[in-house]
Amino acid sequence: MRYVNIFLLIFQHVTNFRSRIFIWFLTSFLNPLSLLIFWIAVFREKGDVLAGWSLSSLSTYYFLIIIAAAFIIVHIEEDVAIHDIREGDLIKYLLRPFSYYWMKFFDEIPWRIIQGFFGFMAFIIFYLLFSKFILLPHTLVGITTTFLIVLLAFFISFTFKMIIGLTAFWFIDFWGLQQIIEVVIIVLAGLIMPIEFFPHWLKNISLISPFPYMIYYPILSFQSKLIDSQVIQTVLIQIFWLAILYLIYRFLWSRGLKKFTGVGQ
């Protein structure tokens, strides 16, 4: 199938850059690491448990952030905004009998798999070195529900980024928006620290946004920190957000396309 061929080609292209991949991995790993060092120092000083989290569960959290961020956070918005819309590559997608959404999806997948793979490798290394620090899920049900939550999280992340990319139909200044969004995601998705630790007002803002459902809840699920009712609630809210985001996407797409093909960029 042609999607498979495209995937293989991109995979090849990516393996040419093995040293780049190593550095990507280092970069994604150093930030959570600095925060983890911070918490280890805090635990050494303050005791064994903080707000219901032990050092082990917190360490696991940060290690999982590395994989989650590598695999779930998508970077397709730059491609969409700059190459497709601004530079006009969009035309070649319009000529094909496939949905733009799915074509970009398959463009993005190889990168996510590679990065997720390296994140996964990193996690294995950490597990072997620091096994006493790491707690993993151990029930079949847990693994299944985590898989579902992760899958939904990925689609939420992807759809959201597609929407951001589409804003380039109207905004000349894409980079400004993109930087702001990146900062917002890092904070509200729980990449700095578990949302549970946030001050009240920030926690509330975060929970009414889709971002925790991209990273935070998948990680909690993986750590078996969600009881059954929470699992159901999480999945339902994810489905809710996915539906809303997809509707927004379709709306922006049809409006944007009219503008694009009308004016011709």
Binding site: F17, R20, A51
Partner: protein, 262 residues
């Protein structure tokens, strides 16, 4: 050396002209710089939100350290950051030759070619936070400490520069490694934390992060009059040592440079 000063003056001028020509870009960069500046500060504020003292530091002091960090990183971004990104672009597209053909020391050419004036917003941000905290904590600053503080700011910036330059030299052998520059931004972020934090976790870690750890903490300590001779000596020593190492490494790298063919 006067020649190099004259050339730098011309570079400052041409960068200023470029700034006025591309005003939209300037506004963009300023917004971007501002947000990342705020983000770096907010991260520290967030993670220390539940505690009042850590590793022998008061929470306000840790935030003050972050203000100093913001100043240092702001200055670094004005003079150096963009040049490293440019260098990685040049290497990636095989255009490094144009640098070597100029009758100019290549390290100078690579390091000082562009100036990112829009990062001044970060310097302003850091300064405002710094002044606010100093007043609210009622620190007394005398002129001597202030001068020392400014010198250590510069030492800190230069130390960061040498680390970046050392890392960037690897691009000579592996031109596709452009994301090593992104990695260095993360390394910069490590200077936000008090040295005592690293010491707490492991002595080994502390030694490993030694060059970074003094960058912001030394100016901070001199500012509030808490510096000791060890800090002062270590900062200067590390800065000087790394300057020499990075220079030698660069010359070594140049010898191995194979210009892109065709």
């Amino acid at each position: 050396m006067i020649r190099y000063l004259k050339i730098y003056k011309a570079l400052m001028k041409i960068n200023l002209i470029a700034l006025f020509t591309y005003r939209a870009n300037f506004i963009n960069s300023t917004i971007s710089s501002f947000f990342w500046g705020v983000f770096a500060i907010a991260t520290i504020v967030l993670i220390t939100s539940k505690t009042s003292t850590l590793f022998g530091w008061k929470r306000e002091e840790i935030i003050l350290l972050t203000a100093v960090y913001t100043l240092i990183v702001g200055i670094f971004h004005i003079f150096f950051a963009r040049n490293f990104e440019r260098f990685s672009r040049l290497m990636m597209w095989g255009q490094f030759d144009s640098v070597l053909l100029k009758p100019l020391d290549s390290q100078f050419s690579i390091s000082f070619w562009e100036l990112n004036y829009s990062a001044i917003i970060r310097v302003i941000l850091g300064t405002l936070l710094l002044v606010y905290l100093i007043f609210s904590l009622s620190y007394v600053i005398n002129l001597f400490n202030l001068i020392l503080f400014l010198s250590f700011l510069i030492v800190g910036v230069v130390t960061l520069y040498t680390l970046w330059f050392f890392a960037a030299s690897f691009l000579i052998w592996v031109p596709e490694l452009s994301n090593i520059i992104e990695l260095m931004y993360t390394v910069n972020g490590f200077t936000r934390y008090p040295p005592e934090m690293f010491k707490r976790v492991s002595g080994f870690l502390f030694i490993f992060t030694l060059p970074i750890v003094f960058v912001a903490s030394s100016p901070f300590k001199t500012l509030i009059g808490r510096a000791n001779y060890i800090d002062i000596f270590a900062s200067f020593f590390i800065c000087g040592l790394f300057l020499i190492i990075s220079r030698f490494f660069w010359r070594f790298a140049l010898r191995s440079y194979t210009s892109a063919s065709n």
